[in-house]
Symmetry: C2
Subunit: 229 residues, 2 copies
Amino acid sequence: MNRQTIMVDRDLLAEPRRRAAELRADFTRRGILVLNILSSPGAGKTTLLQAIARHWQGRRRMAVLVGDIATDRDARRLAPFIPAVQLTTGGACHLELPLVERGLAQLGDLDLEFLFIENVGNLVCPASHDLGEHLRVLVLSTTEGDDKPAKYPKAFRTSHLLVINKTDLLPYVPFSLESALADARSIQPQLPAFAVSAESGAGITDWCAELESRRNELLANGDVFSPRR
Amino acid sequence: MNRQTIMVDRDLLAEPRRRAAELRADFTRRGILVLNILSSPGAGKTTLLQAIARHWQGRRRMAVLVGDIATDRDARRLAPFIPAVQLTTGGACHLELPLVERGLAQLGDLDLEFLFIENVGNLVCPASHDLGEHLRVLVLSTTEGDDKPAKYPKAFRTSHLLVINKTDLLPYVPFSLESALADARSIQPQLPAFAVSAESGAGITDWCAELESRRNELLANGDVFSPRR
Protein backbone atom coordinates (compact mmCIF):
# COMPACT_ATOMS: atom_id res chain seq x y z
CA MET A 1 0.00 0.00 0.00
CA ASN A 2 1.11 3.50 -0.63
CA ARG A 3 1.09 6.17 1.98
CA GLN A 4 -1.91 8.07 0.70
CA THR A 5 -4.62 9.00 3.12
CA ILE A 6 -8.13 8.03 2.10
CA MET A 7 -10.94 9.29 4.29
CA VAL A 8 -13.83 6.92 4.87
CA ASP A 9 -16.93 7.57 6.91
CA ARG A 10 -17.03 4.32 8.88
CA ASP A 11 -14.92 1.61 10.51
CA LEU A 12 -14.37 -0.89 7.68
CA LEU A 13 -13.41 -3.60 10.16
CA ALA A 14 -16.43 -3.34 12.47
CA GLU A 15 -18.56 -5.65 10.31
CA PRO A 16 -15.90 -8.44 9.94
CA ARG A 17 -15.24 -8.25 13.71
CA ARG A 18 -18.94 -8.63 14.48
CA ARG A 19 -19.27 -11.50 12.01
CA ALA A 20 -16.19 -13.28 13.44
CA ALA A 21 -17.62 -13.03 16.97
CA GLU A 22 -20.93 -14.45 15.73
CA LEU A 23 -19.20 -17.36 14.02
CA ARG A 24 -17.16 -18.09 17.15
CA ALA A 25 -20.29 -18.10 19.33
CA ASP A 26 -21.93 -20.49 16.88
CA PHE A 27 -18.92 -22.85 16.93
CA THR A 28 -19.01 -22.74 20.74
CA ARG A 29 -22.71 -23.65 20.81
CA ARG A 30 -21.98 -26.61 18.54
CA GLY A 31 -19.04 -27.76 20.69
CA ILE A 32 -16.51 -27.32 17.89
CA LEU A 33 -13.08 -26.03 18.93
CA VAL A 34 -11.77 -23.93 16.04
CA LEU A 35 -8.04 -23.35 15.51
CA ASN A 36 -6.47 -20.90 13.07
CA ILE A 37 -2.99 -22.14 12.15
CA LEU A 38 -0.34 -19.61 11.10
CA SER A 39 3.21 -20.12 9.89
CA SER A 40 5.80 -19.31 7.25
CA PRO A 41 5.56 -21.23 3.97
CA GLY A 42 6.77 -24.78 4.48
CA ALA A 43 6.90 -24.78 8.28
CA GLY A 44 4.80 -27.93 8.30
CA LYS A 45 1.16 -26.93 8.90
CA THR A 46 -0.24 -29.60 6.58
CA THR A 47 2.13 -32.29 7.86
CA LEU A 48 1.12 -31.36 11.43
CA LEU A 49 -2.55 -31.84 10.52
CA GLN A 50 -1.73 -35.21 8.98
CA ALA A 51 0.10 -36.18 12.21
CA ILE A 52 -2.90 -35.15 14.33
CA ALA A 53 -5.27 -37.17 12.13
CA ARG A 54 -2.92 -40.17 12.31
CA HIS A 55 -2.73 -39.88 16.10
CA TRP A 56 -6.49 -39.69 16.59
CA GLN A 57 -7.27 -42.33 13.94
CA GLY A 58 -10.93 -41.37 13.80
CA ARG A 59 -11.37 -41.20 17.60
CA ARG A 60 -11.92 -37.43 17.24
CA ARG A 61 -14.05 -35.84 14.56
CA MET A 62 -12.03 -33.19 12.76
CA ALA A 63 -12.10 -31.29 9.48
CA VAL A 64 -9.81 -28.80 7.79
CA LEU A 65 -10.26 -25.63 5.75
CA VAL A 66 -6.94 -25.08 4.03
CA GLY A 67 -5.89 -21.76 2.54
CA ASP A 68 -3.46 -21.11 -0.28
CA ILE A 69 -2.92 -18.45 -2.89
CA ALA A 70 -3.13 -21.02 -5.66
CA THR A 71 -3.40 -24.81 -6.17
CA ASP A 72 -5.43 -27.39 -4.22
CA ARG A 73 -2.31 -29.34 -3.23
CA ASP A 74 -2.82 -29.20 0.52
CA ALA A 75 -6.46 -30.30 0.38
CA ARG A 76 -5.41 -33.20 -1.83
CA ARG A 77 -2.70 -34.15 0.70
CA LEU A 78 -5.24 -34.10 3.54
CA ALA A 79 -8.28 -35.61 1.82
CA PRO A 80 -7.23 -39.27 2.34
CA PHE A 81 -7.19 -38.67 6.12
CA ILE A 82 -9.84 -36.08 6.94
CA PRO A 83 -12.57 -33.96 5.37
CA ALA A 84 -10.71 -31.04 3.77
CA VAL A 85 -11.80 -28.08 1.67
CA GLN A 86 -9.28 -25.94 -0.18
CA LEU A 87 -9.73 -22.16 0.02
CA THR A 88 -7.85 -20.40 -2.77
CA THR A 89 -7.29 -16.67 -2.26
CA GLY A 90 -6.26 -15.97 -5.85
CA GLY A 91 -3.41 -13.70 -4.80
CA ALA A 92 -4.35 -12.47 -1.35
CA CYS A 93 -1.75 -13.02 1.36
CA HIS A 94 -4.13 -14.25 4.08
CA LEU A 95 -7.57 -15.79 4.61
CA GLU A 96 -10.62 -13.60 5.17
CA LEU A 97 -13.99 -14.41 6.66
CA PRO A 98 -16.11 -14.61 3.48
CA LEU A 99 -13.81 -17.31 2.08
CA VAL A 100 -13.94 -19.22 5.38
CA GLU A 101 -17.74 -19.03 5.32
CA ARG A 102 -17.81 -20.40 1.79
CA GLY A 103 -15.58 -23.27 2.96
CA LEU A 104 -17.90 -23.96 5.89
CA ALA A 105 -20.84 -24.18 3.51
CA GLN A 106 -18.89 -26.67 1.39
CA LEU A 107 -18.05 -28.81 4.43
CA GLY A 108 -21.76 -28.96 5.17
CA ASP A 109 -23.34 -30.04 8.40
CA LEU A 110 -20.59 -32.28 9.76
CA ASP A 111 -20.80 -33.23 13.41
CA LEU A 112 -17.32 -32.01 14.36
CA GLU A 113 -15.26 -31.70 17.53
CA PHE A 114 -12.33 -29.84 15.95
CA LEU A 115 -12.11 -27.53 12.96
CA PHE A 116 -8.65 -26.49 11.79
CA ILE A 117 -8.22 -23.49 9.52
CA GLU A 118 -4.81 -23.69 7.85
CA ASN A 119 -3.97 -20.14 6.83
CA VAL A 120 -1.84 -19.01 3.85
CA GLY A 121 1.89 -19.49 4.56
CA ASN A 122 2.81 -16.02 5.79
CA LEU A 123 4.07 -14.86 9.20
CA VAL A 124 2.75 -11.33 8.75
CA CYS A 125 -0.66 -10.59 7.25
CA PRO A 126 -2.77 -13.47 8.69
CA ALA A 127 -2.02 -12.15 12.20
CA SER A 128 -4.35 -9.21 11.54
CA HIS A 129 -7.47 -11.23 10.67
CA ASP A 130 -9.89 -12.85 13.09
CA LEU A 131 -11.53 -15.81 11.33
CA GLY A 132 -13.89 -16.72 14.17
CA GLU A 133 -11.35 -19.12 15.71
CA HIS A 134 -11.12 -19.89 19.43
CA LEU A 135 -7.38 -20.35 19.37
CA ARG A 136 -4.62 -19.12 17.12
CA VAL A 137 -1.75 -21.59 16.73
CA LEU A 138 1.64 -20.42 15.50
CA VAL A 139 3.91 -23.05 13.96
CA LEU A 140 7.62 -22.17 13.88
CA SER A 141 10.02 -24.70 12.34
CA THR A 142 13.56 -25.24 13.58
CA THR A 143 14.94 -24.65 10.09
CA GLU A 144 13.72 -21.04 10.13
CA GLY A 145 16.11 -20.06 12.92
CA ASP A 146 15.58 -19.18 16.57
CA ASP A 147 15.69 -15.43 15.94
CA LYS A 148 12.25 -15.20 14.31
CA PRO A 149 9.84 -14.27 17.17
CA ALA A 150 10.98 -10.68 17.77
CA LYS A 151 11.20 -10.12 14.00
CA TYR A 152 7.52 -11.06 13.53
CA PRO A 153 6.07 -9.73 16.78
CA LYS A 154 2.38 -9.50 15.89
CA ALA A 155 2.07 -13.19 15.00
CA PHE A 156 3.73 -14.14 18.29
CA ARG A 157 1.73 -11.63 20.31
CA THR A 158 -1.68 -12.65 18.95
CA SER A 159 -1.25 -16.43 19.11
CA HIS A 160 -2.51 -18.62 21.96
CA LEU A 161 -0.28 -21.65 21.36
CA LEU A 162 3.18 -22.10 19.85
CA VAL A 163 4.25 -25.31 18.10
CA ILE A 164 7.95 -25.67 17.35
CA ASN A 165 8.09 -28.17 14.50
CA LYS A 166 10.85 -30.19 12.78
CA THR A 167 12.66 -31.11 15.99
CA ASP A 168 14.00 -34.12 14.04
CA LEU A 169 16.26 -31.64 12.20
CA LEU A 170 17.74 -30.09 15.37
CA PRO A 171 21.05 -31.98 14.98
CA TYR A 172 21.58 -30.40 11.55
CA VAL A 173 20.50 -26.77 11.95
CA PRO A 174 21.70 -23.83 14.03
CA PHE A 175 18.62 -23.58 16.28
CA SER A 176 18.37 -23.44 20.06
CA LEU A 177 14.98 -24.35 21.51
CA GLU A 178 15.84 -22.29 24.60
CA SER A 179 16.71 -19.17 22.61
CA ALA A 180 13.59 -19.46 20.47
CA LEU A 181 11.38 -19.83 23.55
CA ALA A 182 13.07 -16.96 25.38
CA ASP A 183 12.60 -14.79 22.30
CA ALA A 184 8.93 -15.77 21.90
CA ARG A 185 8.29 -15.08 25.57
CA SER A 186 9.92 -11.67 25.34
CA ILE A 187 6.89 -10.92 23.12
CA GLN A 188 4.32 -12.93 25.08
CA PRO A 189 5.56 -14.09 28.51
CA GLN A 190 3.07 -16.93 29.11
CA LEU A 191 2.90 -18.40 25.59
CA PRO A 192 2.50 -22.20 25.93
CA ALA A 193 4.87 -24.06 23.61
CA PHE A 194 5.05 -27.62 22.24
CA ALA A 195 8.11 -29.07 20.52
CA VAL A 196 7.14 -31.66 17.92
CA SER A 197 8.23 -33.41 14.78
CA ALA A 198 5.17 -33.76 12.57
CA GLU A 199 7.34 -35.92 10.30
CA SER A 200 8.45 -38.47 12.94
CA GLY A 201 5.49 -38.07 15.29
CA ALA A 202 7.60 -37.00 18.29
CA GLY A 203 5.63 -34.78 20.68
CA ILE A 204 2.32 -35.31 18.85
CA THR A 205 0.73 -37.20 21.77
CA ASP A 206 1.24 -34.23 24.14
CA TRP A 207 0.09 -31.78 21.51
CA CYS A 208 -3.12 -33.71 20.85
CA ALA A 209 -3.74 -34.02 24.62
CA GLU A 210 -3.50 -30.21 24.83
CA LEU A 211 -6.06 -29.85 22.02
CA GLU A 212 -8.45 -32.24 23.78
CA SER A 213 -8.03 -30.42 27.07
CA ARG A 214 -8.70 -27.06 25.39
CA ARG A 215 -11.87 -28.45 23.89
CA ASN A 216 -12.98 -29.76 27.29
CA GLU A 217 -12.39 -26.27 28.66
CA LEU A 218 -14.59 -24.86 25.90
CA LEU A 219 -17.38 -27.36 26.64
CA ALA A 220 -17.19 -26.70 30.39
CA ASN A 221 -16.87 -22.92 30.38
CA GLY A 222 -18.25 -21.72 27.07
CA ASP A 223 -16.54 -19.03 25.08
CA VAL A 224 -13.56 -18.33 27.34
CA PHE A 225 -11.22 -17.69 24.45
CA SER A 226 -10.96 -14.25 22.98
CA PRO A 227 -8.99 -12.95 20.05
CA ARG A 228 -5.71 -11.26 20.91
CA ARG A 229 -4.80 -7.94 19.34
CA MET B 1 -8.28 -5.77 3.27
CA ASN B 2 -12.00 -5.98 3.16
CA ARG B 3 -13.93 -6.14 -0.04
CA GLN B 4 -15.20 -2.59 -0.01
CA THR B 5 -14.84 -0.52 -3.12
CA ILE B 6 -13.23 2.88 -2.69
CA MET B 7 -13.22 5.15 -5.72
CA VAL B 8 -10.12 7.26 -6.25
CA ASP B 9 -9.46 9.69 -9.05
CA ARG B 10 -5.94 8.59 -10.00
CA ASP B 11 -3.58 5.62 -10.27
CA LEU B 12 -2.01 5.44 -6.82
CA LEU B 13 0.83 3.30 -8.13
CA ALA B 14 1.89 5.54 -11.03
CA GLU B 15 4.11 7.71 -8.84
CA PRO B 16 5.97 4.80 -7.11
CA ARG B 17 6.47 3.16 -10.53
CA ARG B 18 7.97 6.34 -11.96
CA ARG B 19 10.21 6.80 -8.92
CA ALA B 20 11.40 3.15 -9.05
CA ALA B 21 12.31 3.54 -12.73
CA GLU B 22 14.24 6.76 -11.92
CA LEU B 23 16.14 5.05 -9.10
CA ARG B 24 16.98 2.11 -11.38
CA ALA B 25 18.28 4.44 -14.10
CA ASP B 26 20.41 6.22 -11.51
CA PHE B 27 21.87 2.92 -10.23
CA THR B 28 22.64 1.96 -13.84
CA ARG B 29 24.46 5.25 -14.46
CA ARG B 30 26.55 4.64 -11.34
CA GLY B 31 27.35 1.05 -12.38
CA ILE B 32 25.67 -0.46 -9.33
CA LEU B 33 23.81 -3.74 -9.89
CA VAL B 34 20.85 -3.76 -7.49
CA LEU B 35 19.22 -7.01 -6.34
CA ASN B 36 15.97 -7.33 -4.40
CA ILE B 37 16.03 -10.59 -2.41
CA LEU B 38 12.74 -12.29 -1.56
CA SER B 39 12.02 -15.39 0.51
CA SER B 40 10.01 -16.94 3.31
CA PRO B 41 11.15 -16.15 6.85
CA GLY B 42 14.30 -18.10 7.65
CA ALA B 43 15.10 -19.31 4.12
CA GLY B 44 18.61 -17.93 4.54
CA LYS B 45 18.74 -14.48 2.90
CA THR B 46 21.10 -13.01 5.51
CA THR B 47 23.30 -16.13 5.58
CA LEU B 48 23.50 -16.00 1.77
CA LEU B 49 24.68 -12.38 1.93
CA GLN B 50 27.31 -13.37 4.50
CA ALA B 51 28.44 -16.18 2.18
CA ILE B 52 28.73 -13.77 -0.77
CA ALA B 53 30.74 -11.31 1.33
CA ARG B 54 32.99 -14.12 2.53
CA HIS B 55 33.53 -15.32 -1.04
CA TRP B 56 34.42 -11.88 -2.39
CA GLN B 57 36.50 -10.90 0.64
CA GLY B 58 36.53 -7.23 -0.30
CA ARG B 59 37.32 -7.87 -4.01
CA ARG B 60 33.84 -6.53 -4.85
CA ARG B 61 32.31 -3.45 -3.28
CA MET B 62 28.88 -4.35 -1.89
CA ALA B 63 26.38 -3.01 0.63
CA VAL B 64 23.08 -4.20 2.01
CA LEU B 65 19.75 -2.61 2.93
CA VAL B 66 18.01 -5.15 5.11
CA GLY B 67 14.28 -5.08 5.80
CA ASP B 68 12.42 -6.45 8.79
CA ILE B 69 9.20 -5.69 10.58
CA ALA B 70 11.05 -5.20 13.86
CA THR B 71 14.57 -5.54 15.34
CA ASP B 72 17.95 -4.66 13.80
CA ARG B 73 19.18 -8.26 14.10
CA ASP B 74 20.03 -8.82 10.47
CA ALA B 75 21.97 -5.56 10.10
CA ARG B 76 23.94 -6.48 13.21
CA ARG B 77 24.70 -9.91 11.72
CA LEU B 78 25.93 -8.33 8.50
CA ALA B 79 27.75 -5.26 9.84
CA PRO B 80 31.03 -7.08 10.63
CA PHE B 81 31.29 -8.09 6.95
CA ILE B 82 29.74 -5.34 4.86
CA PRO B 83 28.10 -1.90 5.11
CA ALA B 84 24.53 -2.65 6.19
CA VAL B 85 21.56 -0.47 7.08
CA GLN B 86 18.46 -1.92 8.76
CA LEU B 87 15.09 -0.84 7.40
CA THR B 88 12.33 -1.47 9.92
CA THR B 89 8.81 -1.43 8.53
CA GLY B 90 7.08 -1.25 11.93
CA GLY B 91 4.43 -3.79 10.93
CA ALA B 92 4.28 -3.65 7.15
CA CYS B 93 4.74 -6.97 5.36
CA HIS B 94 7.13 -5.73 2.63
CA LEU B 95 9.56 -2.93 1.81
CA GLU B 96 8.42 0.18 -0.02
CA LEU B 97 10.39 2.78 -1.92
CA PRO B 98 10.40 5.63 0.65
CA LEU B 99 12.04 3.35 3.22
CA VAL B 100 14.60 2.19 0.66
CA GLU B 101 15.38 5.80 -0.21
CA ARG B 102 15.92 6.61 3.45
CA GLY B 103 18.29 3.64 3.68
CA LEU B 104 20.20 4.85 0.62
CA ALA B 105 20.63 8.26 2.24
CA GLN B 106 22.00 6.55 5.35
CA LEU B 107 24.47 4.49 3.31
CA GLY B 108 25.73 7.75 1.84
CA ASP B 109 27.87 8.13 -1.22
CA LEU B 110 29.57 4.72 -1.23
CA ASP B 111 31.33 3.70 -4.44
CA LEU B 112 29.49 0.39 -4.89
CA GLU B 113 29.37 -2.38 -7.48
CA PHE B 114 26.51 -4.33 -5.87
CA LEU B 115 23.63 -3.26 -3.67
CA PHE B 116 21.49 -5.98 -2.11
CA ILE B 117 18.06 -5.18 -0.74
CA GLU B 118 17.01 -7.96 1.63
CA ASN B 119 13.22 -7.78 1.78
CA VAL B 120 10.95 -8.72 4.70
CA GLY B 121 10.61 -12.52 5.00
CA ASN B 122 7.37 -13.07 3.07
CA LEU B 123 6.71 -14.99 -0.15
CA VAL B 124 3.63 -12.95 -1.04
CA CYS B 125 3.49 -9.18 -0.59
CA PRO B 126 7.05 -8.16 -1.59
CA ALA B 127 6.41 -9.61 -5.06
CA SER B 128 4.09 -6.66 -5.79
CA HIS B 129 6.60 -3.87 -5.11
CA ASP B 130 9.29 -2.58 -7.46
CA LEU B 131 12.11 -1.11 -5.33
CA GLY B 132 14.19 0.14 -8.26
CA GLU B 133 16.15 -3.13 -8.45
CA HIS B 134 17.65 -4.56 -11.64
CA LEU B 135 17.10 -8.15 -10.62
CA ARG B 136 14.71 -9.88 -8.27
CA VAL B 137 16.21 -12.92 -6.58
CA LEU B 138 13.97 -15.55 -5.00
CA VAL B 139 15.51 -17.76 -2.32
CA LEU B 140 13.71 -21.06 -1.68
CA SER B 141 15.12 -23.35 1.01
CA THR B 142 15.00 -27.14 0.79
CA THR B 143 13.30 -27.33 4.20
CA GLU B 144 10.23 -25.50 2.85
CA GLY B 145 9.33 -28.35 0.51
CA ASP B 146 9.46 -28.71 -3.26
CA ASP B 147 5.75 -27.91 -3.71
CA LYS B 148 6.06 -24.18 -3.02
CA PRO B 149 6.45 -22.55 -6.48
CA ALA B 150 2.91 -23.10 -7.79
CA LYS B 151 1.50 -22.13 -4.39
CA TYR B 152 3.21 -18.72 -4.49
CA PRO B 153 3.06 -18.04 -8.23
CA LYS B 154 3.60 -14.26 -8.29
CA ALA B 155 6.96 -14.43 -6.47
CA PHE B 156 8.15 -17.10 -8.92
CA ARG B 157 6.74 -15.30 -11.96
CA THR B 158 8.29 -11.90 -11.16
CA SER B 159 11.77 -13.08 -10.14
CA HIS B 160 14.79 -13.12 -12.46
CA LEU B 161 16.92 -15.62 -10.55
CA LEU B 162 16.13 -18.54 -8.24
CA VAL B 163 18.47 -19.67 -5.48
CA ILE B 164 17.69 -23.01 -3.85
CA ASN B 165 19.37 -22.80 -0.45
CA LYS B 166 20.16 -25.31 2.33
CA THR B 167 21.28 -28.09 -0.01
CA ASP B 168 23.33 -29.37 2.97
CA LEU B 169 20.00 -30.50 4.50
CA LEU B 170 18.89 -32.49 1.42
CA PRO B 171 19.70 -35.86 3.06
CA TYR B 172 17.31 -35.10 5.93
CA VAL B 173 14.28 -33.49 4.29
CA PRO B 174 11.65 -34.64 1.79
CA PHE B 175 12.72 -32.33 -1.07
CA SER B 176 13.50 -33.13 -4.69
CA LEU B 177 15.57 -30.52 -6.55
CA GLU B 178 14.09 -31.82 -9.81
CA SER B 179 10.49 -31.48 -8.65
CA ALA B 180 11.08 -28.00 -7.27
CA LEU B 181 12.69 -26.86 -10.52
CA ALA B 182 9.97 -28.42 -12.65
CA ASP B 183 7.36 -26.69 -10.51
CA ALA B 184 9.13 -23.31 -10.66
CA ARG B 185 9.49 -23.63 -14.43
CA SER B 186 5.81 -24.43 -14.81
CA ILE B 187 5.38 -20.81 -13.64
CA GLN B 188 8.38 -19.33 -15.48
CA PRO B 189 9.92 -21.69 -18.05
CA GLN B 190 13.36 -20.05 -18.38
CA LEU B 191 13.99 -19.19 -14.73
CA PRO B 192 17.75 -19.63 -14.04
CA ALA B 193 18.37 -21.57 -10.83
CA PHE B 194 21.35 -22.03 -8.52
CA ALA B 195 21.55 -24.70 -5.81
CA VAL B 196 23.65 -23.54 -2.87
CA SER B 197 24.32 -24.03 0.79
CA ALA B 198 24.95 -20.60 2.28
CA GLU B 199 25.91 -22.40 5.48
CA SER B 200 28.60 -24.68 4.00
CA GLY B 201 29.52 -22.47 1.03
CA ALA B 202 28.63 -25.10 -1.61
CA GLY B 203 27.59 -23.50 -4.89
CA ILE B 204 28.54 -19.98 -3.78
CA THR B 205 31.38 -19.66 -6.32
CA ASP B 206 29.00 -20.25 -9.26
CA TRP B 207 26.39 -17.95 -7.75
CA CYS B 208 28.89 -15.11 -7.30
CA ALA B 209 30.17 -15.64 -10.86
CA GLU B 210 26.59 -15.20 -12.08
CA LEU B 211 26.27 -11.94 -10.13
CA GLU B 212 29.52 -10.63 -11.64
CA SER B 213 28.44 -11.62 -15.13
CA ARG B 214 25.07 -9.89 -14.65
CA ARG B 215 26.87 -6.72 -13.56
CA ASN B 216 29.16 -6.88 -16.62
CA GLU B 217 26.03 -7.17 -18.74
CA LEU B 218 24.64 -4.06 -17.06
CA LEU B 219 27.87 -2.12 -17.67
CA ALA B 220 28.04 -3.24 -21.31
CA ASN B 221 24.41 -2.81 -22.30
CA GLY B 222 22.87 -0.35 -19.86
CA ASP B 223 19.46 -0.89 -18.39
CA VAL B 224 18.54 -4.19 -20.03
CA PHE B 225 16.69 -5.46 -16.99
CA SER B 226 13.08 -4.66 -16.53
CA PRO B 227 10.68 -5.42 -13.71
CA ARG B 228 8.47 -8.44 -14.28
CA ARG B 229 4.75 -8.25 -13.54
